[in-house]
Symmetry: C2
Subunit: 458 residues, 2 copies
């Protein structure tokens, strides 16, 4: 949905003021930035990485149109800087975890090295893209786990934050193990099965529920799902059964009934009994209505007779944690002689990790994730998770078909011990720093504190 | 950002299955739908309506391209239905509250009458658009109120849910009284002042904080804001003062310092004292860092010396209530003779209001909102809030410049008693139903219950 021809200005104003100042003072400087999540939001004990495809497409297409430059001129940017900006393309090197990789706070998921200006101005978009898709993929994977083998579908379009979010939520949910989406455009763009039932308004548009059920079944004899709670759920199920029998006689099978309100445990059990009693064992029960992983876990534990879940708002906005603490921080920058020097931020509670880093994963013999180590790029401490994605602005990593990304997510989630998948109070994150990185932090913080002290006293 | 050429498929799959069934069984049927919010999310006691401009643009441009139709054919839709869909345009009548109107749960903010198919399939987009913009406008208006006259800026781009949300959040926040945005594209599209400072990475890209401050001031001598918390806030303020004095001697004024972490009350008071002591009374203090209306209210109460607030994530995702219970419900539909009959939903806790309705507002002599009455369209019970926006698919309401929409929001918010603006425990909502509407509900629920009873027993 995003038109990459017009993304030039989709950035924070300060990226451009900084860029103009770099243009004047540090034009030849090179830098490395890390994108990571600082902390877990409540009830999370892992993240599922998504959003990289959008990031690479953005970097590949980054440019400022003449219209963009005209607007920036009106905002007071300097002519020579705008001339430079008009020619700017992204030429950096990008390392990243493949989509579908499980990761933890503090671990760089994207690492970018290149001209200071180029690596700085892409910050806003990268944070925006990774925040949304990773947040939703993580949330969705929890819902899939709670459903414990039952199928889950994305119904979130109407409540996601805008249209771009609707598409990215459908994609991220499918990546995390959802089985389909109600969003037709997302279905088309990402090749996700399209699913849907009917709305209450459909039932209300006919003179009776029974008439509406007959009409819908007539139109879709091979994939009819009937919504049974418009007036009274039990009577709705009775009507669905009546119509199912009529069509059974003509060789058609009712696919499912959908419950959208009330006590889903009781209503689903009653519906199941009513259906079974009438020889309609094959008719599934789909439940929807403000569901999330917490409610689904309870429904499953209480023995609800639900086969499929339609999950909307709470997944689509990650309702219990609607943002991630995604951060984009500089970790090294060249000095005036062009030599890369590590750097870090020291302000209260917001210390960052210096240097060009890699994340290493250690598995046990059974392929279960044992621990991660954040080390320096040159170390070898386990399986390196950051892969080379772009060199000199060109994508060098073969982008996988979405089915393989999905498979990668499944494998990654499978490598997690069960304790990570508890909906609340999961494992603390198993990440350490390499001794060499620790040493660098120690030396550098001393240097920076001393340096600032001296300069501030001048 | 939304490309209206490709919005045809941006809908829930069930809109199209219902449409095909209507095409077969109720092709000539006309209907009226209401879009409203069912309940308050936590801590809200009014809503500020936004999102209508997107809705009208969508309705005006609604169509299915050949590519859309080809995809729908693959999904199994019938050829004759797709031929019809290819020609479909929106021809309905739309009544809505102007953007910037204050409203309450249960009140229709958009009312659409037209062919059953056309009025049904626009559901998903309309809900998506109104949910986001109204949620953000409402949240932003609370933040403006908490800031109690201090200026508030939108810094949310990096954490909004995708790119469409970033633009709509910036617009909705400005509509609600914010004074600018960091989002350059939103600034350009909606003519919102662009604002920004610098990132920690800027400071870290120079060999010292002092050097970075000098470089930035040099580049923007007339609008320099310095971020002072990269290493140590107090030392950062000292460095900012040092540089401010150097530039003062050359005739330039430091605009502000920005605090982004730590105890903002203490740090701002200390910074204020340090600045004032050095004759820099004119230098403002801007604070940011995970702020929302609750934190800002506390900062103001505790006497923080903050002039301007930069508000990001928590406004941009409406963190404490990241969705609204927006609903789109059918309220009347024609019978086989073409006569409009009211209809309503009876399922547990989700009863809807039947008939073609209007919302009437009653003010006291001072122009303070006294109460609202939801009545039938033909009644006259106060100032009618729903205005005629589209007739036969054409926009007939003169769309106002954004400055007037903003002014309308201000007037609407001013008409609310202070008790509505409490951040928690505000007024219960002052909405009643007209006697005629109540009567209609009573008669109709009886009829519907009786009718379903009879049919279910057949």
């Amino acid at each position: 949905m995003l038109d990459f021809k017009s993304t030039g200005l989709l950035l924070d104003f300060y990226e451009l003021t900084m860029a103009q100042s770099y243009f004047r003072h540090r034009f030849k400087a090179q830098a490395t930035f890390d994108l990571f999540v600082r902390d877990f939001p409540q009830n999370r004990s892992y993240f599922l990485f998504a959003g990289l495809e959008d990031v690479l497409r953005y970097l590949k297409n980054l440019k400022f149109s003449q219209e963009d430059l005209d607007y920036l001129e009106r905002l007071g940017f300097a002519e020579d800087f705008l001339t430079y900006l008009g020619r700017l393309r992204f030429h950096g090197e990008v390392w990243a975890m493949p989509e579908g990789t499980v990761f933890f706070p503090g671990e760089p998921v994207i690492r970018i090295t290149g001209s200071l200006i180029e690596t700085q101005i892409v910050e806003s978009f990268l944070l925006n893209a990774v925040n949304l898709s990773t947040m939703i993929a993580t949330k969705a994977s929890r819902i899939v786990a709670a459903a414990d083998g039952r199928r889950v579908y994305d119904f979130s379009l109407r409540r996601t934050h805008g249209t771009d979010a609707a598409l990215k939520a459908a994609r991220s949910a499918y990546l995390a193990g959802f089985r389909g989406t109600s969003n037709v455009l997302a279905s088309k763009l990402y090749d996700i099965p399209a699913v849907g039932t009917m709305a209450h308004s459909f039932v209300m548009s006919f003179s009776s529920e029974l008439e509406s059920f007959r009409a819908f079944f007539e139109t879709f004899p091979n994939r009819c799902i009937l919504l049974v709670d418009t007036y009274d759920t039990q009577k709705g199920v009775a009507n669905a059964i009546k119509v199912a029998k009529e069509f059974k006689a003509r060789g058609y099978r009712l696919k499912a009934v959908r419950l959208d309100s009330g006590d889903l445990v009781k209503l689903s059990q009653t519906a199941r009994k009513m259906l079974d009693r009438c020889g309609l064992r094959g008719v599934k029960i789909l439940a929807s209505g403000d569901l999330d992983e917490y409610k689904i876990e309870k429904l499953v534990l209480k023995g609800a007779a639900i086969d499929d879940f339609g999950v909307g708002t709470k997944m689509g906005v990650s309702a219990d944690s609607p943002s991630l603490d995604v951060i984009y921080k500089i970790s090294e920058v060249t000095n005036k002689e062009g030599v890369f020097l590590p750097t870090m931020k020291l302000s209260e509670k917001k210390v960052t990790l210096p240097g060009r880093k890699q994340v290493f994963r250690v598995f046990d013999k059974e392929g279960v994730l044992k621990k991660d180590i954040i080390g320096l790029e040159t170390e070898r401490l386990g399986e390196p998770l950051l892969k080379k994605m772009m060199v000199a602005g060109d994508v060098v990593y073969p982008l996988k078909p979405f089915s393989e990304v999905r498979e990668n997510a499944r494998k990654n989630l499978d490598s997690l011990k069960k304790s990570f998948k508890r909906l609340k109070g999961g494992c603390p994150h198993p990440v350490g720093l390499s001794p060499r990185l620790k040493k660098m932090i120690q030396v550098l913080s001393k240097q920076l504190r001393a340096r600032q002290q001296t300069k501030a006293l001048i």
